[in-house]
């Protein structure tokens, strides 16, 4: 068992070896990160720790992840196979934690939107980034954010000026197959100015079956009346560790629509924390997680209704096969001040195997009396009569199952308004549960 000290030593050594480039505030910011990490370490104990109750971080804390001095090679073809793409999108690509200019449109500025890098903000009109970075992702919250902060030499900034309307921006984070397992700490900051509109796609992709650790933090700030459409793709390798944290703060009458698609990893966490911090702010959060083998995904969603007339609508779906495991914890808190708010949440799961396990806990904490709220969760197997119905038309059992799995996923996929992304997802599900192809050799199992 690696102790807290040796975990710290491992990352501290990497921290010390990193050249200190970029503005001074960034160095200071990173220093606060590593200091904080030295105090916190990783939250390894699951006892008395509600936030990590269902996700064992032991294997993550015990593994020694290196720092990739140089990125692996990713050519345009591979990138296209890994992540969705469109010529109309502005995109920043990071390979093994390093910015990849050959795949990126850095410094894009137009229509009041600036897309740039955290460590490279001088040339761009990105004033205010220093003050906003870290304003939502609290260093005290857990060691992951602290560690991410320590390594935030590079990262993405998407800033939309008041009234601006941005093209779709995709941030792609690729981890290649390395000799040793590496850690990357992707950092992003999205600032949607007053009355602005933007669409941001975050795509985390792993190559092959590599073992790695992605420790990502994306802060999203919505000013008055801003509308942000946010997509988060977690297409990790089955051996990957991915801890993702997305804090969001919403101002008056802003809307945040977010959809996540996660296939799980050795340990994967999709953390989202939305602060509905002003009247009229509304978020619609959807997600689809789909796991097979022994993969694990932990969706940890917290919605704070802090002000009156705020709205949240959560709809997650999960598809689990083999001995995989998923967690959905939706914590919706309606604070005393949040009268006339609406809070809905729902989690539905399709279990394809008896060995698969789902822990679903939609939770509502209500401290206001004049609100509307519902929550619910279901888990079930594929309906036998649906399978028979399809078979009675000549469709074999596996194809029938695949069609039903895709059908189940489709309800979330169809919420995607970006066509290239929707096509990418439909393609993933064209033959049923992505990655579970091996299952088909088992043949039909029917009762009777």
């Amino acid at each position: 068992m690696t102790s807290k000290t040796s975990t710290y030593d491992l990352y501290a050594k990497q921290f010390d070896r990193l050249p200190s480039t970029g503005p001074e505030w960034l160095s200071a910011f990173r220093q606060r990160g590593i200091d904080s990490f030295s105090m916190l370490g990783f939250p390894t104990s699951r006892k008395d720790n509600e936030r990590w109750k269902y996700t064992n971080l032991g294997p993550l804390a015990n593994a020694a992840f290196g720092y990739a001095e140089r990125p692996g090679t990713v050519d345009a073809g591979l990138l296209k196979a890994l992540a969705p793409s469109s010529d109309d999108w502005v995109q920043l690509v990071f390979v093994d934690g390093h910015y990849a200019p050959e795949h990126s449109t850095n410094g894009h500025a137009g229509n009041g939107v600036v897309v740039g890098r955290i460590g490279d903000t001088d040339g761009l009109s990105l004033n205010g980034v220093g003050e906003r970075l870290g304003s939502l992702a609290s260093l005290e919250s857990d060691g992951f954010t602290a560690l991410n902060t320590a390594f935030a030499t590079d990262g993405a900034v998407v800033k939309v000026s008041p009234g601006g309307s941005a093209p779709t921006v995709q941030l792609v984070y690729v981890t290649t197959e390395h000799g040793e397992a590496i850690a990357t700490h992707p950092r992003a900051l999205v600032i949607a100015g007053e009355g602005s509109e933007c669409t941001v796609v975050e795509s985390y992709v792993g190559v092959g079956e590599s073992t790695y650790f992605t420790n990502s933090v994306s802060e999203i700030i919505l000013e008055d009346g801003a509308q942000v459409e946010h997509y988060r793709l977690m297409m990790d390798s089955p051996n990957a560790f991915h801890i993702g944290s997305t804090p969001v703060r919403m101002a008056e009458d802003s809307t945040f629509n977010s959809l996540s698609f996660a296939r799980g990893g050795r340990v994967a966490r999709n953390g989202l924390h939305v602060m509905l911090d002003a009247p009229g702010s509304k978020c619609v959060v959807g997600g689809l997680y789909f796991t097979y083998g022994t993969q694990h995904i932990d969706n940890h969603i917290v919605i704070d209704h802090l002000k009156p007339q705020t709205g949240s609508d959560l709809y997650f779906k999960g598809i689990l096969d083999d001995r995989s495991r998923a967690v959905f914890s939706g914590g919706v808190i309606v604070h005393p001040n949040a009268q006339k708010s609406e809070a809905y949440q729902k989690d539905q799961n399709l279990l394809l195997s008896e060995g698969a396990r789902i822990n679903t806990k939609p939770m509502l904490e209500i401290y206001a009396d004049d609100i509307q709220a519902t929550h619910g969760a279901t888990a079930g197997a594929v309906a036998d009569e649906a399978i028979f119905y399809m078979r009675s038309r000549g469709i074999d059992e596996n194809t029938a199952r695949d069609l039903l799995v895709h059908g189940f996923a489709k309800e979330i996929i169809d919420r995607v308004s970006l066509e290239p992304l929707r096509e990418y997802l439909d393609g993933l599900f064209a033959d049923g549960l992505p990655g579970a192809g091996a299952k088909h050799s088992e043949g039909g199992k029917s009762r009777g």
């Binding site: 119905y389 039903l404 309800e411």
Partner: protein, 254 residues
């Protein structure tokens, strides 16, 4: 085409069919009538190979071959079709996509090439128009949110696209309004040919006004207690089942 010999079927270890004999030749239409719970759907499901319907005795031959060991999709690919009494909703699965997958499977079995998406679309639209299904409905998920009558019409659409050799229609006429009944009947009649056959399970004479059966069988308590021509249906409509049941009881005890 279909030969059922001394068929005994159990559901949940309860005997439901207690010795059915029935022969359906190519080109024929057979109607099966009988009181609720007598075993009509059980018979149709057993022929289609529904899991849970255990054949404990007897045999089912399709085109001379026993199909008891065949899985349901194999039976369908051989040309059997079951229009269900309670069609199932398939959330997220589009009607068009579902039927394309089914037709692809059938064509593959026959050694024919898959239809291209465009070829299939043309066929699908043609059939949708013939069956009188609304375009909107045809684009929706299979049976999801369909009314009872719309579901029945969708069963006929599927039959028309898949062109089975033997169609088992389990109360496809129930719950239909007069216009729908007529389109269903038209669908059935235009499908009728010397090469294929049909088994119509029904409670009502009115479908038989449009689709004239060659034979009518009365199924009571798991047995066919009487068979006759189309006039038998008229007689049943008029007098109910009691008199046949009593006659049969007399015959059996005598």
């Amino acid at each position: 085409m279909l030969e059922i010999n001394n068929l005994h079927v159990e559901v949940n270890a309860t005997g439901i069919l207690k010795g059915i004999d029935l022969t359906v030749k190519a080109g024929e239409v057979h109607a099966i009538m009988g009181p609720n719970g007598s075993g009509k759907s059980t018979l149709a499901n057993a022929v289609a190979g529904r899991p849970g319907y255990d054949v404990t005795e007897g045999d089912i031959l399709f085109e001379g071959e026993s199909i008891l060991g065949w899985i349901p999709d194999q039976r369908a690919r051989a040309g059997l079709f079951l229009a269900m009494q309670y069609p199932v909703e398939l959330p997220g699965v589009r009607n068009r996509q579902f039927l394309k997958a089914a037709l692809d499977a059938l064509r593959e079995e026959r050694g024919e090439d898959e239809l291209s998406a465009r070829e299939f679309d043309t066929l699908y639209r043609k059939r949708v128009a013939e069956i009188g299904m609304s375009e909107d409905l045809s684009r929706r998920n299979v049976n999801e949110g369909f009314s009872g009558g719309e579901k029945k019409r969708n069963e006929i659409l599927q039959m028309a696209v898949l062109e089975p050799r033997l169609a088992l229609l389990d109360e496809t006429d129930s719950g239909l309004d007069i216009d729908a009944l007529r389109t269903v009947a038209d669908g059935v009649n235009s499908y009728r040919s010397p090469d294929n056959a049909m088994l119509l399970v029904t409670h009502y004479q009115r479908i038989l006004d449009y689709v004239t059966p060659d034979y009518v069988h009365v199924l009571v308590d798991g047995r066919i207690i009487r068979s006759g021509g189309k006039d038998l249906a008229l007689e049943l409509e008029e007098k109910g089942y009691d008199w046949i049941v009593q006659e049969a009881a007399v015959v059996r005890s005598g």
